[in-house]
């Protein structure tokens, strides 16, 4: 093989590898047959089935609620943590703070899940709170690990930002709080949006941690899917997956389009 083409071909195969399973999921979600992998004919009946399944609908609603609240909490806490790491310089306990902020990123989920559950059980025994496990405990757990992702995204934006604009605002008489809202916030807004979306997705997606800290009556969507999938392939899960992929793809394409338009607008008007 000619060396010139080796790298592009290898890279294309890599990209194909990433998308092959997703494409097959989408295709077979329109398959009429219950045997997921044998094509019979085009049908949307699994989508109809999906929307008639109360268990899935309820779990989806619970998951969306949890994801919304956890992502919002994680956004606030993670942004504060990022500010501390990017702007406060050296202080006593910085290493600990940094470690606690970034460690959840690489911590295996089984450990995070188990340790949080044991904490909740101990707290209930000694403090009487949280009474039992359910939505609240899942939200706390998700906030904790999503916080780390938000902090990383926001911190890298803060570090990349020209700090002298903040100093200029201070110099012109704005108090530190004012500077944050006038200068820092508009500057890191894209990172806040992507941080929130990332947290939302991660929370919506989590199976392991939720399984540990959840209680009766609080089954999230991944928990329901997992119990269905464990028994074998089920076509309505394919339909669900296709819907989720469609939503994500639409969101990403929209954001790409907005970014490109913005880049084009500012690029063409220079000079």
């Amino acid at each position: 093989m000619n060396g010139r083409y080796f790298v592009p071909i290898a890279a294309s195969l890599g990209f194909a590898f990433l998308y092959l399973p997703i494409v097959s999921l989408v295709i077979y979600s329109f398959n009429e047959s219950r045997l997921v992998t044998v094509w019979s004919r085009f049908s949307t009946k699994w989508y109809a089935e999906l929307f008639r399944d109360p268990q899935i609908l309820q779990a989806a609603w619970i998951s969306l609620k949890i994801a919304f609240i956890s992502a919002s909490l994680a956004l606030v806490l993670g942004t504060l943590a990022a500010l501390v790491l990017a702007r406060f310089g050296r202080f006593a306990g910085r290493t600990l703070f940094n470690g606690m902020t970034t460690a959840p990123l690489v911590m295996p989920e089984v450990i995070t899940g188990l340790s949080l559950l044991l904490l909740f059980v101990s707290m209930e025994l000694t403090l009487g709170w949280p009474a039992g496990r359910g939505l609240t405990t899942i939200i706390i757990a998700h906030t904790t690990f999503c916080l780390a992702y938000v902090a990383v995204v926001v911190q890298s934006r803060l570090v990349g930002m020209d700090r002298s604009t903040e100093e200029a605002a201070l110099d012109l008489g704005a108090t530190p709080v004012r500077v944050f809202f006038d200068i820092t916030l508009p500057n890191i807004a894209p990172a806040l949006v992507s941080g929130w979306l990332l947290a939302f997705t991660l929370s919506l997606d989590d199976l392991v941690i939720a399984s540990f800290v959840s209680g009766p009556g609080a089954s999230t969507l991944p928990m329901v899917i997992f119990s269905k999938v464990r028994l074998g392939v089920s076509p309505d899960v394919n339909a669900l997956a296709t819907l989720m992929i469609a939503v994500v793809a639409a969101g990403v394409l929209a954001s790409l389009w907005i970014m490109n338009r913005r880049a084009g607008a500012s690029g063409s008007s220079v000079q």
Partner: protein, 297 residues
């Protein structure tokens, strides 16, 4: 005096996330450590307390039995070794597949670069569980891959793909590939293009340029990427549970079983403690790799 106000404001800003993380991230590990030293019991919660206060006598019972059990029962040691093996192989496979991708993205024109990067990140935004699930449909005995191979006349009998270590590694490589591509790309894109031109100008063939310039300069990115695959893969539960067979022993799965099926919380805690200790070294390595690739910029 006004500086004092600023300092107090800063303390508050740091305290809110700081206290949250202390309570919900650090404290839980202490609870796990404590529980790994207690004794399992048929009770609610299913363990005996570590200390008892009885008429002026404080009795602390430290039970090292859980750890002894981990050493004596070959299951746990095998599961640890197997997890490390599968995670290492997966990380290396990711490197082989991901390096050309990262390189292509880093060398693409800026407007195409964003599109390619989005393509790498996009699967990451779709459900992890569903992406693993997709492979079941592909790998099953009567799944897409076997049907195609039989249809093409390459094989008569379906291959056993699902419920093997191969399937587990495939699943890990597939789901964690973006974790390798992104840091490696970030490393490669920072390299000055003139470096490669200089190497060629001095007479290096493209492959020599790659071996003598590109590869050494991308070590921090490769290391960070491989560790970002390796560390979570060691404790992976979903992938071995869905794609692996009954004999696929991974420590995350063992912990899960110990906890949910056997309801042995103390042993599950001991497993978690050992896993933490095993992962401390790679996590430190990761921090160093990330720091050194930042210095490169």
């Amino acid at each position: 005096m006004t500086q004092g106000v600023v300092a107090r404001g800063r303390a508050w800003v740091a305290a809110v996330p700081g206290i949250w993380l202390l309570v919900f991230f650090l404290l839980p590990f202490l609870v796990v450590a404590k529980l790994s030293l207690s004794e399992a019991a048929i009770a609610r919660p299913p363990y005996l307390p570590l200390w008892e206060w009885d008429e002026d006598y404080l009795t602390i019972t430290l039970n090292l039995g859980n750890y002894r059990y981990l050493i004596e029962d070959a299951l746990y040691i095998n599961a640890f070794l197997e997890s490390l093996r599968i995670a290492s192989v997966s990380a290396l496979m990711c490197l082989l597949i991901g390096y050309p991708m990262a390189w292509c993205i880093a060398r693409a024109r800026p407007e195409r670069r964003n599109v390619l990067l989005t393509l790498v990140i996009l699967p990451f935004w779709t459900s992890f569980l569903l992406r693993v699930y997709a492979w079941i449909g592909l790998l099953k005995p009567n799944g897409v891959i076997n049907n195609m191979l039989i249809g093409a006349g390459l094989i008569d009998q379906p291959l056993t793909l699902l419920q093997t270590d191969f399937a587990v590694i495939l699943g890990i490589v597939y789901t964690y590939l973006p974790f390798l591509v992104l840091p490696l790309y970030a490393n490669l894109v920072k390299l000055d293009g003139a470096l490669f031109e200089a190497a060629e100008d001095l007479g290096a063939q493209p492959w020599q340029t790659f071996l003598t310039v590109t590869l050494p300069l991308s070590v921090p990115g490769m290391l960070a990427g491989c560790l970002l695959v390796f560390i979570p893969a060691v404790g992976e539960f979903v992938i071995p549970a869905l794609l692996g067979g009954a004999d696929t022993l991974m420590i995350g799965k063992v912990l899960w079983t110990e906890f949910f099926n056997n309801r042995d919380w103390p042993v599950a805690s001991a497993v978690a403690m050992v896993m933490l200790v095993v992962l401390v070294l790679p996590i430190m390595l990761l921090r160093n790799a990330q720091n050194s690739s930042e210095e490169l910029a």
